[in-house]
């Protein structure tokens, strides 16, 4: 019997209360009739089926009733319904979008087999404070043969290649991979096969795999592409496979893969570093164990090759974690900010619902008097709030989906995953749960409050309804909203200050009016320096004749785009310890580069046409280079050993931010392009054309393309861009961060303002009589105004104090994003407090004015 009573709990309480006893009586009768075990068993089976079926139906009946009732109620107050839907959509949308990003970047496993065991290995250099350097083929070979922690290891690198043959010449990123890489990643090709074990030997025929994107754009998705020969930098490669659309490796830029091959001479130089190992941990081996083994191996190699490998260690990290910490911080900040918006939205909605529930107390009391139980009323009200939240959730998912393309720019990570996260079942489940929590969150408190005790007092209650406790409760909610929005605004202010600080950094060159484009000359076609010089001369001389062009030059790489390319420096008589050589960044330039870039020439001369391979080997160095090696002395005519030759300083120029506005930069060394040795690493040969022009430099692009095409019809042109865009891109992520957080802060502020307004408006309307009495007793309008505004100001003061403390804590958490701006930045706090006060005044103004206009005679007569 007790079991049966317990099972009856599957029915709604109202139904149970009504019929539970009778049902028990029926059950008792039937049990008495069940005289043997089999009959008893049958009875229980019947009972279970009966309860499962009918309890569900009763619930559905009630739900249907409640929905009908709720939609009727909401149709009667469309403004209220719309407000709730929009507010909850903003909260749910923000949270869903943030979750999608966090899930995509931080949580979801990478789309590879056993991705939780995939690790990447780097060289680190304690002397140069570098953690993530490439390896030389020789070091890779030695690491791989010595390590026991891994089930497999391969290596890769990335290189630009020109695809020629039919169609426009095209410059694409080529992922060069050793034969182990694809089996390690464990993804099957869409068509064909991937590289087999012997295919990364020098003697094997040249083959390639296409990315889905290149297959579609260049070959129209034609399956007969397999077996076709494609020219890469003039060398025919046979297509052996096509990878699926969702496959990216090592990053999204790579559009085709070739086998990485090492000639015997490549193992000779341990400083020729350009490859990245990828490995899979053996089952049961931890990352720490692998790290300590690799550190031992690196230390052993450092002892064996003290000149090249002193200070060189090994870094092992999960492929999953291979992105800057800053991105992680930003994502967590994003999630926190979105959570804050959701909480504020919920608080606001709770307040709205509370006000509405108070206004509906009479209606609820009538229903209670007619026999509706409290549980029934609470359920009814929850159905209403869930219905609203559901509409809000649907709208929120749309908001999130449309916000994602913006949000991805917030955290540029090079992980091998799709750029824009998919809105899939996982995201929808999250959104549904958030919606449910939101609906219950803002519905349950008002529902319980309104239905408390189903009291007859409510029936008797007059318009003086409400009551001290509820007001206090709502006040606290408003305080929480103000506090939350202060946190967001302060963080926003801190980021804005950081952005200004970074934007104020002088890049060292003048970016305005310069157009850049890339024509990377392939080898072996352009292996000889003389051949390249012919190309540069022809392009530059024609470019300089274009109307409006004031200068044109070629350079190894653009600042901030091409950050690496450093070489060790040796100065005779200095730093005898070869292992402690410091580095400088190397750029080959054509004459006129400094004037095009407006890099000031401080001493001596520019590189010249007369600086050839047969004349003295010269260099122009930057100011910090002089400070480092010859402080206080005249550097002109001094010698240093750099990039495999002795160089003489002929000029000094200003320093530029080679690596970026927010990064530490090595001193720069510029070498005339005619002094590039034949066959010297393709990495360093000049490939970027820069042109300074009066007027709109972008307008020159077609003419410049034509000039390059005439110089070599097979030569692709890529990366046509304004130098100013490159500098702006340095702060683009920060700008986006600011936009997103700014949007969140604005929403939060708006909601908090509405909250204050709602609370005070409600207070004023319920205190009309009191105000009337006050006025009748001689209170002046000004007194009434200040009474209401004071109430708002009190809330604001408490909210601001709490918010400011939390904002400081939040500032400490996002310190990494602040570019040196202290978390207690006074302007940011002052601005936030000022804004919060303004919002309070704005929010309380309308209710205060309404209170001022209360006519005592009317107010007192109302009852």
């Amino acid at each position: 019997m007790r079991l049966y009573r317990f099972l009856l709990h599957a029915y709604p309480a109202s139904f149970r209360g009504e019929y539970g006893e009778e049902m028990c009586a029926v059950f008792e009768q039937r049990r008495r009739e069940a005289t043997n075990f089999l009959l008893l068993l049958g009875l229980w089976i019947d009972v279970l089926i009966d309860i499962a079926r009918n309890a569900t139906r009763v619930h559905i009946d009630i739900l249907r009733q409640d929905l009908r009732y709720a939609s009727r109620m909401l149709r009667r107050t469309p403004g209220f319904a719309l407000t709730v839907v929009i507010v909850s959509a903003l909260g749910i949308g923000a949270t869903t979008a943030a979750f999608t990003m966090v899930d995509h970047v931080l949580i979801r496993p990478l789309p590879f087999a056993d991705s939780d065991r995939l690790v990447q290995l780097y060289q680190n250099n304690s002397l140069r404070d570098a953690k993530f350097w490439e390896l030389s083929p020789a070091n890779y070979r030695d690491w791989k043969s010595a390590a026991t922690s891994f089930a497999g290891m391969g290596c890769f690198t990335e290189l630009l290649v020109n695809v020629t043959g039919r169609g426009e010449p095209l410059s694409v990123s080529n992922g060069q991979v050793s034969a182990e890489i694809f089996p390690l990643l464990g993804r099957q090709p869409l068509l064909g096969r991937y590289f087999s074990a012997g295919e990364d030997r020098e003697t094997a025929p040249a083959t390639l795999l296409l990315s889905y994107r290149l297959w579609q754009t260049r070959f129209g998705g034609d399956t007969s592409v397999l077996g076709r020969k494609i020219l890469l930098d003039g060398i025919p490669h046979t297509v052996i496979g096509v990878m699926p659309a969702s496959f990216y490796f090592p990053d999204r830029d790579v559009q085709l893969w070739t086998a990485l091959r090492f000639g015997p001479d490549e193992y000779a130089d341990r400083e020729n570093t350009y490859i990245y190992p990828l490995a899979k941990l053996r089952r049961g081996v931890s990352l720490t164990a692998a790290q300590s083994e690799m550190s031992l191996i690196a230390a052993r190699l450092a002892r064996a090759y003290p000149k090249e490998l002193a200070h060189v260690g090994a870094t092992v990290l999960f492929m999953r974690d291979n992105f800057p910490n800053r991105a992680r911080t930003m994502l967590m900040a994003l999630l926190a900010a979105a959570g804050c918006v959701l909480l504020i939205a919920c608080t606001n909605l709770t307040n709205l619902m509370l006000a509405r529930a108070m206004a509906r107390r009479k209606e609820l009391a009538v229903r209670a008097a007619m026999g509706a139980g409290r549980e029934r009323l609470v359920r009814q009200m929850l159905t209403e709030s869930l219905l609203l939240a559901l509409a809000g959730g649907a709208l929120g998912v749309l908001i999130a989906a449309s916000a994602l393309p913006l949000l991805v720019r917030l955290v540029p990570v090079g992980l091998p995953i799709a750029e824009i996260p998919p809105v899939d079942a996982r995201v929808l489940v999250f959104a549904a749960l958030t919606t449910l929590a939101t609906g219950v969150g803002f519905g349950v408190l008002p529902a319980l409050r309104a239905c408390r005790g189903g009291d007859a007092a409510a029936l008797r209650e007059t318009s003086r309804g409400g009551g001290g406790r509820r007001e206090r409760m709502r006040s606290w909610l408003v305080v929480a909203e103000i506090g939350g929005s202060v946190v967001l605004v302060v963080c926003c202010g801190l980021l804005m200050h950081a952005l200004w600080r970074v934007q104020a950094v002088d890049p060292g060159f003048r970016a305005g009016g310069v157009l850049a484009m890339r024509s990377a000359l392939p080898q072996p076609k352009y292996e000889k320096t003389a051949t390249r010089i012919q190309f540069y001369d022809r392009v530059l001389s024609q470019a300089r004749q274009l109307p409006g062009v004031t200068g044109a030059a070629y350079v190894t790489g653009l600042p901030m785009v091409f950050g690496g390319g450093v070489q060790p420096v040796e100065v005779a008589g200095q730093a005898a310890d070869l292992a402690n050589r410091q580095t400088a960044s190397l750029r080959y330039v054509t004459p006129g580069y400094f004037s095009v870039m407006s890099i000031p020439l401080l001493q001596g001369r520019d590189v010249a046409d007369l600086d050839t391979a047969r004349s003295q080997w010269v260099a122009v160095v930057s100011e910090s280079f002089v400070h480092r090696y010859w402080p206080g002395q005249n550097p002109i005519g001094r010698h240093f050993n750099f990039a495999l030759a002795d160089r003489t300083v002929v000029g000094v120029v200003g320093d530029i931010r080679v690596r970026g506005l927010e990064r530490s930069n090595e001193p720069q060394v510029y070498i005339p392009c005619k002094q590039v040795p034949d066959g010297w690493i393709i990495f360093y040969t000049p490939k970027d054309l820069v042109v300074r022009a009066t007027g709109d430099p972008m307008a020159l692009a077609p003419a410049l393309r034509r000039i390059i095409h005439e110089a070599d019809p097979e030569q692709p042109v890529t990366d046509v861009q304004l130098l100013s865009d490159i500098v702006d891109a340095q702060t683009a992520t920060r700008s986006v961060q600011l936009w997103v957080l700014g949007a969140f802060a604005a929403i939060a502020f708006l909601l908090a303002g509405i909250g204050i307004h709602g609370l005070l408006a409600f207070a004023v309307s319920t205190r009309t009589q009191e105000i009337g009495v006050r006025v009748a007793l001689g209170a002046r309008r000004g007194d009434i105004l200040s009474m209401i505004v004071r109430e708002g100001a009190m809330l604001a003061a408490v909210g601001i104090c709490g918010g400011a403390a939390l904002a400081f804590a939040a500032g400490l958490q996002i310190r990494a994003l602040l570019a040196g701006v202290p978390p207690a930045d006074a302007p940011a706090f002052a601005a936030a407090i000022l804004l919060a006060l303004l919002m309070t005044v704005a929010g309380s103004l309308v209710p205060a004015l309404r209170a001022m206009r209360v006519d005592p005679a009317v107010a007192i007569r109302v009852e």
């Binding site: 139904f15 009504e18 009972v47 009763v58």
Partner: protein, 120 residues
């Protein structure tokens, strides 16, 4: 509640359980368990209403005004205080009649098309 009740035809067709309960109550007022037994004996044990089905039907029938709860109770020695007794309303009778009419017409149509025989 008698005013503003919908046209009896609006509730048709009735769920079988509802019609059986109406038929059972048309004879006399009964309590829940008595209805179950009556329906069972009336259908030669073919239809055994479960408690859940019975009371869910009763709830809806009360809402629709087909039946009411009655305060007339049997002598105390035959009574169980937990029991509630139900009585058919005139509206309930009208709905049951309408349903019977509908079924009769249906049977007639079935006969005309040879799908049912007299007495079947």
């Amino acid at each position: 509640m008698s005013d503003g009740l919908p046209d009896p035809a609006a509730l048709l067709p009735l769920p079988p359980a509802t019609l059986h309960i109406l038929l059972s109550l048309a004879e006399e007022d009964r309590h829940g368990y008595a209805i179950i037994q009556n329906v069972a004996s009336r259908t030669n044990g073919e239809l055994k209403l479960s408690a859940g089905t019975l009371y869910r039907s009763i709830q809806r029938m009360l809402e629709h005004g087909l039946i009411v709860e009655t305060r007339d109770r049997p002598a105390p020695d035959e009574d169980d205080p937990r029991r509630r007794y139900y009585r058919i309303t005139p509206y309930g009778t009208a709905v049951a009649r309408a349903e019977a009419r509908r079924l009769t017409q249906l049977v007639r149509l079935a006969r005309e098309s040879g799908l049912a025989t007299e007495g079947a």
